[in-house]
Symmetry: C2
Subunit: 422 residues, 2 copies
C-alpha cells in the first residue's frame, strides 16, 4: 500500500452528494408509496434499473458486458491489461417490500468509486470491474445469490435457467422477457479479487455506535422446502383425538425451529416463512400446508447440529400426530471465511480514514460468499437504522453510505494499486 503514502491519494474522497443522488434516483425504479423499493429480479422494474446502470457505467468510461444469467460486468481498464480485474459491486434487485440500500448501496458505491477515480485522473494498475449480480434476493426464484452461484459453478446453468417463480415462469424465460440473457458464457469474466460494500442488515454497528464493519466471516445457510399432509375435515364435528391438523403440526415445527436456533445460539438463527395452506376455509381443519424454513450460523458444527435437530424434531412431530411431513433441503452453503489480505485492506482503509470499525460476521447471505470460493474476497458493512432490512423502513444515513464508499475506494486503491495517469 506504498502508493497510499502519496498525499493526494490518501486524502481522496468519493463524492457523497453524487452517491446519495444516484441512490435516490434509482429508488424510483419500483419505488413504493412507503418509500421502499419493490424490484423483483428480472422484472420490468429490474430491466429499468439495469438499463440505467449500463448507461451510467458506459458514461463513466466502462465497457459493459452481460453473461448468460444476466450478471452485468462494467470493466474499467487498468495499466496492466494482463491482470484479471478486481471486482467491486453487489446487486440491484430487492425483496417484494424491500428498501433503497440492500445491495443497491454496494453496486452504486462501486460505480461512485470509478467516477471518483475518473475525477482524480487515477488509473489503477489492476483493472476494475463493477458488478451487478442477478437475483441475490431469491424471493422470486430460489435460491438466493443465484447469479453469483452460477458464476462460481456452484449450480449448473441449465438447472438455474429452469427454476420457476410462483407463476411458473422460468429464469430463462424471465431473462429473455427483459432482454438480459447475455452473450458472455457463464464464469468467463475472471477476477483477481472481489470486494462488496453492504448495509449490515443487523443491529450491531448501530448498537455499538460504530461506522464500519470489517466482515471476516459469513454464515452457513441451509434452506428447506416442507410439506405437511394431514386431513381436511369439519371443524365442528371432528373430535380432537381424531384430527390430522396440518396447521397444528406446522405450529410445532415452527416452535421447534425457533427452539433449536435459541438452544444452539447465540450465533444461530432459524426461521419459518412462506406458508401456503391448500383449500382454506374457516371451518375446515387445514389438511395440507407447504412452508419454507432455514437455519444460518457461522459455525459449521452448529449448522450440522441444527440440520440433524430439525430432521429429528420433524420425524417426532409427524409420528406423534400421525401426519406426513416432507422436508427437502433445497440449498446448503457452508460458512464462509474471507481472505485476510482483503479484510486487512478494509480495516487499514477504515483506520486511515479515522472511521470507527470492528470485525464482524455477516448474518445475511451475500454474493461475496460465492466469490470467496474462487478469489480473495472481503466485505464492508455500514449501519442501517434499527438493524432493519427486507422492509420498506430500511434506512441508512448519507454519511454512513459515504464512509463505506470511501473505505471501498481506499481498499480498492490498496488492492488494485494506483498511479497518476500519464
Amino acid at each position: 500500500m506504498t502508493a497510499l503514502s502519496t498525499p493526494a491519494l490518501s486524502n481522496l474522497q468519493i463524492n457523497a452528494d453524487r452517491l446519495w443522488s444516484t441512490i435516490l434516483e434509482t429508488a424510483q425504479f419500483g419505488g413504493t408509496p412507503k418509500g421502499g423499493v419493490k424490484r423483483l429480479t428480472l422484472s420490468e422494474e429490474d430491466r429499468q434499473v439495469r438499463d440505467w446502470f449500463r448507461a451510467a457505467c458506459e458514461a463513466a468510461g466502462c465497457t459493459v458486458s452481460v453473461d448468460a444469467l444476466g450478471n452485468m460486468f462494467a470493466l474499467r481498464p487498468g495499466r496492466d491489461a494482463s491482470k484479471a480485474p478486481l471486482g467491486i459491486g453487489s446487486h440491484l434487485d430487492t425483496q417484494p417490500t424491500g428498501g433503497k440500500f440492500d445491495g443497491i448501496l454496494g453496486t452504486l458505491a462501486a460505480l461512485e468509486v470509478v467516477r471518483a477515480l475518473n475525477d482524480a485522473g487515477i488509473e489503477t494498475d489492476t483493472p476494475l470491474c463493477v458488478v451487478n449480480w442477478t437475483n441475490e434476493e431469491g424471493s422470486r426464484f430460489a435460491p438466493a445469490m443465484m447469479g453469483s452461484a452460477g458464476h462460481v459453478a456452484d449450480l449448473p446453468l441449465a438447472e438455474i435457467l429452469a427454476r420457476t417463480d410462483a407463476e411458473g415462469v422460468s429464469v430463462g424465460e424471465a431473462l429473455d422477457a427483459i432482454g438480459y440473457r447475455g452473450e458472455v458464457p457463464l464464469g468467463t469474466q475472471k477476477f483477481s479479487g472481489f470486494l462488496e460494500l453492504h448495509i449490515e442488515q443487523g443491529p450491531i454497528l448501530e448498537a455499538e455506535n460504530l461506522t464500519i464493519g470489517v466482515v471476516e466471516h459469513g454464515q452457513g445457510i441451509i434452506w428447506y422446502n416442507g410439506r405437511v399432509t394431514g386431513f381436511e375435515s369439519h371443524a365442528g364435528s371432528t373430535p380432537m383425538h381424531l384430527r390430522k391438523d396440518a396447521l397444528a403440526t406446522l405450529s410445532e415445527i415452527v416452535l421447534a425451529v425457533e427452539k433449536l436456533a435459541v438452544d444452539l445460539g447465540p450465533n444461530a438463527v432459524g426461521t419459518v416463512a412462506d406458508i401456503t395452506i391448500a383449500r382454506q376455509s374457516r371451518n375446515v381443519i387445514p389438511g395440507e400446508i407447504t412452508f419454507a424454513t432455514e437455519f444460518r450460523t457461522p459455525d459449521a458444527g452448529i449448522l450440522e447440529a441444527l440440520d440433524k435437530g430439525l430432521q429429528a424434531a420433524v420425524a417426532r412431530i409427524a409420528d406423534k400426530r400421525k401426519v406426513s411431513v416432507q422436508l427437502d433441503t433445497i440449498w446448503r452453503k457452508e460458512p464462509t471465511h474471507f481472505d485476510p489480505k482483503v479484510t486487512g485492506a478494509v480495516a487499514a482503509a477504515a483506520q486511515k480514514l479515522g472511521l470507527s470499525h470492528r470485525p464482524m460476521v455477516s448474518g445475511a447471505g451475500h454474493d461475496s460468499f460465492h466469490l470467496a470460493t474462487i478469489v480473495p474476497t472481503g466485505m464492508i458493512f455500514v449501519p442501517c437504522k434499527d438493524g432493519v432490512s427486507h422492509n420498506e423502513l430500511e434506512s441508512a444515513t448519507k454519511d454512513d453510505c459515504a464512509a463505506g464508499a470511501n473505505v471501498l475506494l481506499h481498499a480498492v486503491l490498496a488492492l488494485a494499486g494506483d498511479a497518476a495517469k500519464a
Copy 2:
C-alpha cells in the same frame, strides 16, 4: 299420531331411487373432478341449483317464494290454511371443496317427502314448506347459517347485506348478481315447526353401526377473527432475541387453542384456520398474520371457559413475545336444545320403521339452531363415510339417505297430521 295406525300410511315410503338420482343430478352444478361439489353461496353454480330447485318444487305443486336474503320457500298447501306450515329442508350451498350430501340431502329429501305425499295422494292437515337456506356454510361470507340467522332476526338485514367476501363483493351485490334478492320481507314466512335431515359430519353413527341420529342438542359456537402484528425483518441477520415473529406467535396460539379444547373435552373442539401472511418471502421473518379461530361445545359453561381461556392465553403470548395480537369475537351462538315433541316424533318414526337410532349432539352448526330459537325444531342425522364432510371425499350410502328421508316423512306425518285426499 293416531293417523299412523292407518296401514297404508304406516307403510308409506319415499322413492329411494328418485331421491338418489336428484342427489346425483344436482351434484353436477359445481361438480369437481374428484366427485365433490364446489358451490359457494350466491355463486353462478348456486344460481344454477337454485333454478333447478325452484322448477322441481313448482313441478311438485309447490308455490316458491324468495326472501330478501335469497332464502327459498316452497309451500305445499294443507287442509288447514290457517296453520303456519311445518318447515322442512336445509341448504344447497357447499364448502370450496365440499361433498354431495352436506345440506343437499336435507333439502332434496324434503322435496322427496312432498313428491312421495303427492304420489300417495296424501294431503297433510298443516301445510308444508320446503326450505333452501342461503349461505349455511359461511366460507364465502361470514358468519355461517347467515340466511336462517336473518330469518330469526339474530342479525339485522342491513348488516348481513353489507358483509363482503375475500374479493370485497357484498352479500347484497352477490344476491343481485344471480337474481336471488327476493320480494318477501325477511322473517315473514312463518312456521309451526322445523325439521332438518342432515349427514352426521362426524364418526359416531358409523362407529356404532347405527342408522339414525335423533339430534337433541346442538353445540354452542364462538367464531373469532385474529391479527398478529410483529415486525418484518431479515431472516439471516436478526438475532433470535430481537425478533417479533408473527408466525411463531400464531403457532403458540394454534397450540393453545388445541390444548384448551383437549383439556376441556371430550365435548369441546377448537380450530385455527384461514391464515393470511402479509408480504411473504422465504427469507423475511413474518410480520403480520390474520387468522380465524373457533370453539364449539354443547355445554354453555365450557363455552365460556374456552372463551376466557383463549383470551388469557393470547394476552400471555402477546406479552411474552412483545407483539400485538388482536382477537375479535365475530359470532357467538349459545348451545341449542331441540324441542322434545319434535325429537320425540323423530325417535318414534325411526322406531316404527325398525331403524336403529340413538340420541345425539350435533357437532356442526345448522340452520335448525336458529329455527329452534323461534319454533319447535328438531334434526335427523344419518351416517357419512368415516365421519368426513367439508371434503370431496364426503360420502353417504343410498340406503342411509333413504332411511333418513323415510324418518323425515313419518315425522312430518306425525307433526303435520294427515288424511286421505277427498
